[in-house]
């Protein structure tokens, strides 16, 4: 019974597997995740140890992506960088989703002055556009892996509150919620059985898209020197280091940039595809 | 004949399969005549209207012939068709709420229609619009010209659309459930208005509705559609006093009346257009159906002068 999928889930799944965005995006994301997980096994060199005599080598057979100023293998650092981005983006988005869904969902369901206060707080948080809130947090707590996660989570949180709240407000007005009250469902049961499951589709889509944005934000912070600190390999930080050798050794910033771009693209494709499947609009 | 539709078929490809929205419809319309087309959901009546207007989505496949003013519409270039639309043939849709552009005033809309099809000045356009708004009994036409759609009631919006579609004195006016979204009392007003306008203009009307009472009130002739086909066409008098197709008969028995009396449901439900029943599409719900009905598709044939029926079980 549990093993067999019901027809509508199966249909959604079939639609998802036929969707090109999901296939391409999913493949990229899977490759990125594997790269992050398997970094210790597939990276040819230690990403933190370099040989200064082999500094800034262009791509060659020994170092396919060349080496950086400290003579570290760029390929290995790109591979390990995936792990850093994976941790930062997924953990921060996960925290933001859980907190955002609860706060936004309850705020919408309870309504009244609580909703009013939550909305104001979210408005204030969203008044720090884009990377600015993360920058603000980074300025207070300082750089470092954990702090970047906190900063990025805090920057994602109000967005999920807003989306969940909007979605839940819409669902709350649906007749089936009233019908649930009519048969005597309790508030807790309405929230868990009716409101939450029907509000989640936009959250899933958005979580994917925010993962993409968070990878960019985290890399941006690191690029500014306010993010993940050396020696932990991180793509944004690698590019920042390479700016000094912009002209002489472009391979040092091109490869992490390509990795970053493709990874973000993968999540964005996946998000778009999920949007097509989960929030179908009328066909024109 | 103003309009002749012959063997019209319209189909769409969808995820579920090919939808045969209209499947072999033939009829013609005289000048100054009103044909009421009645059918339940999925009967293809609205698709029929859209195909005459050339407003079907690009994905639709159209076969057969539609001749209007002695010209073939199905093969006509879009630009030529566009010139006919709004000028020689017009359509009034069901939802007056969503049919009007929310960000433009009524005057802007009516002016644009006029200037699209006529050489003339803006003043001429607005004065004609004002004249027609008075003809459809809109109180304060000047104020309405400067109003946005959301500032008008449903009944007023529908009057505006009727004025817009009659303003250029077309030959054919299609009304696609124009009163279905309105209250009973407002529906009565609009139907009365249409009846009065009919005597003032030269146009022919195709009036599409799911409501048998409305069809009886406006139609000279009535066509009954079921699952993409026309099953019976006759004068209003004949169709309501002597219906011949089992579906028409069933429908008339199923509809409750204010004069009282029992209702008799038709068993089953309207078939899917993706995989419609073989033979006569009504046979699974038909009390008279036999083997032939499930195999052979009945043709719409004349059983009496002016009375056409598509049923194996009707003789004559």
């Amino acid at each position: 019974m549990l093993m067999e999928l019901d027809p509508s889930t199966r249909r959604t799944l079939r639609k998802a597997l036929r969707n090109r965005n999901i296939r391409v995006g999913g493949a990229i994301v899977a490759a990125f995740v594997l790269m992050g997980l398997l970094a210790p096994f597939i990276a040819p060199y230690d990403p933190t140890k370099g040989n200064l005599r082999e500094s800034l080598l262009p791509p060659c057979s020994k170092y396919p992506f060349g080496t950086d100023f400290a003579g570290r293998d760029v390929l290995s650092r790109v591979i390990w960088g995936a792990r850093t981005s994976l941790i930062v983006s997924t953990v921060s988005v996960f925290i933001a989703v859980i907190a955002g869904v609860l706060v936004g969902g309850l705020s919408a369901y309870v309504g009244g002055w609580i909703d009013e206060v939550v909305t104001r707080i979210v408005d204030v948080m969203l008044s720090f556009p884009d990377i600015l809130l993360a920058l603000f947090v980074a300025a207070i707590v300082g750089p470092g892996l954990e702090n970047v996660i906190v900063a990025v989570a805090l920057y994602n949180f109000p967005q999920f509150v807003r989306i969940m709240r909007g979605s839940a407000l819409q669902v709350k007005e649906m007749e089936y919620v009233e019908a649930a009250r009519a048969i005597g469902e309790s508030n807790a049961s309405i929230f868990a059985r009716y409101l939450l499951p029907n509000s989640l589709a936009p959250i899933v889509v958005h979580a994917t898209l925010r993962t993409a944005a968070s990878i960019l934000t985290a890399a941006g912070l690191s690029f500014l020197g306010l993010g993940v600190q050396p020696p932990i390999p991180e793509w944004g930080q690698m590019m920042s280091d390479a700016r000094t050798y912009l002209v002489t050794a472009p391979h040092v910033w091109i490869f992490p940039g390509v990795a970053l771009f493709i990874t973000v693209l993968g999540f964005n494709l996946l998000g778009d595809g999920l949007n097509d499947v989960l929030n179908p609009k009328m066909e024109v | 004949m103003l309009l002749t539709v012959d063997g019209l078929r319209v189909s769409y490809h969808t995820d579920e399969g090919i939808v045969r929205a209209v499947d072999g419809v033939t009829f013609s319309l005289d000048r100054r005549e009103t044909l009421a087309v009645v059918g339940e959901s999925g009967s293809g009546k609205s698709t029929l209207a859209l195909s005459v207007m050339g407003l079907l989505p690009k994905t639709a496949r159209v076969e057969g012939s539609i001749r209007f003013l002695d010209r073939e519409l199905t093969t006509m270039r879009e630009e030529e068709l566009r010139r006919l639309r709004g000028d020689r043939m017009t359509i009034v849709f069901q939802e007056p709420m969503t049919a009007l552009n929310p960000v433009f005033t009524i005057g802007r809309f009516m002016r644009d229609i006029y200037l699209t099809h006529r050489e003339g000045s803006e003043e001429e356009a607005l004065s004609l619009a004002r004249e027609w708004l008075s003809k459809v009994k809109v109180p304060g036409p000047d104020k309405v010209l400067n109003s946005y759609p959301h500032e008008l009631s449903g009944g007023m919006r529908q009057r505006v659309l009727i004025a817009s579609s009659l303003m250029l004195e077309p030959d054919l006016v299609i009304m696609d459930e124009p009163t279905s979204a309105l209250d009973v009392s407002v529906q009565a007003q609009i139907l009365r208005l249409i009846a009065e306008l009919k005597s003032q203009v030269e146009a022919s009307f195709i009036f599409i509705t799911h409501n048998l009472g409305v069809a009886a009130a406006v139609g000279d002739r009535v066509a009954v559609m079921y699952a993409g086909r026309m099953v019976e066409v006759a004068s209003k008098e004949e169709i309501f006093s002597d219906p011949m197709h089992p579906y028409t008969k069933g429908l008339l028995r199923a509809v409750p009346k204010v004069s009282g009396g029992e209702v008799e449901p038709i068993p089953g439900s309207v078939p899917s257009l993706v995989n419609p029943p073989s033979g006569c599409r009504f046979h699974p719900r038909c009390p008279l159906a036999d083997e032939r009905c499930s195999e052979e598709e009945p043709e719409l044939r004349k059983v009496r002068p002016g009375h056409w029926v598509a049923c194996h079980k009707v003789s004559g």
């Binding site: 408005d123 556009p129 500014l224 944004g236 771009f261 494709l269 | 849709f93 929310p102 229609i113 699209t116």
Partner: protein, 309 residues
Amino acid sequence: MSDLARYVIRRIILAIPTLLGVSVIVFLMIHMLPGDPAQLLAPPEATIQEVEMIRRRLGLDKPLWEQYLIFMGNALKGEFGKSLFTGHTVSELLWPAYLNTLTLSVLAMGFGLVIGVLMGIYAALRPNTVRDQAVTSLSLFGISMPVFWLGLILIEIFSVWLRLLPSGGSGTPRHLILPSLTLGLVGAAYVGRATRASMLEVLSQEYVRTARAYGLPERLVIYVYALRNALIPVVTVAGLIFGYMMAGAVLTETVFSFPGLGRLIVNAIFARDYPIVQAGILVVATTFVAINTAVDILYAFINPRIRLG
């Protein structure tokens, strides 16, 4: 009072609590930092007596709410105290940088809007065709592109290879081209996506079908009847993107060594020059709130229905 006037006033008044919230957060920054604010605001080599003097001079010994009122009073006058290290007042440093960033953002926004809206319409008019997919992919690339990486690539192409444009610095209009192009391309991608989605939605509306049913020429239907409606949500997106540009300029400015607000803030963070950080963030956030309020008001002018809300 007309509905429109009422709406405009309400929208402006609603921005006030948001701005107050922003100012409180920015004000509290000094107090959220680990350590003694007076110590943080004193030069590193200051003696205990000097720190105490600073504490009194800056009013850090007063109750928090009083400090906030003083902070706000000064902020409203455009005064944010002195930089801790350079000897300049914060205003002297802030406003030129702000102006630079504003110039950069406005240029980028103009560029992004024009390209984005055109791309969006082009794609929406031929949905699911190869050309639509090309445009859609391009905008997806745009939003997936790390802005600093794009900047580096443009430098590599236009400054290193072609030697057409300066790779950094400021002063001449030529210095603005690459940074605003970088920001503008990303902005165009977002605007393009929003326009396409909105245009597709509008094209499926009944009033578009009505316009066609009355034979209105396709050009009128699309560029007037549909576009006017389609741009309503795009205006909102544009407001958000402008904020993104103001803040996203941090990265672009760093890449191009452009003396804007973002770079000022980042450098101040490194130097622990907190008055500058506070002022910079407050100014960006205030601009963002102001723009979004303006957008909402603009909205009411485009869309007659919103005035009732």
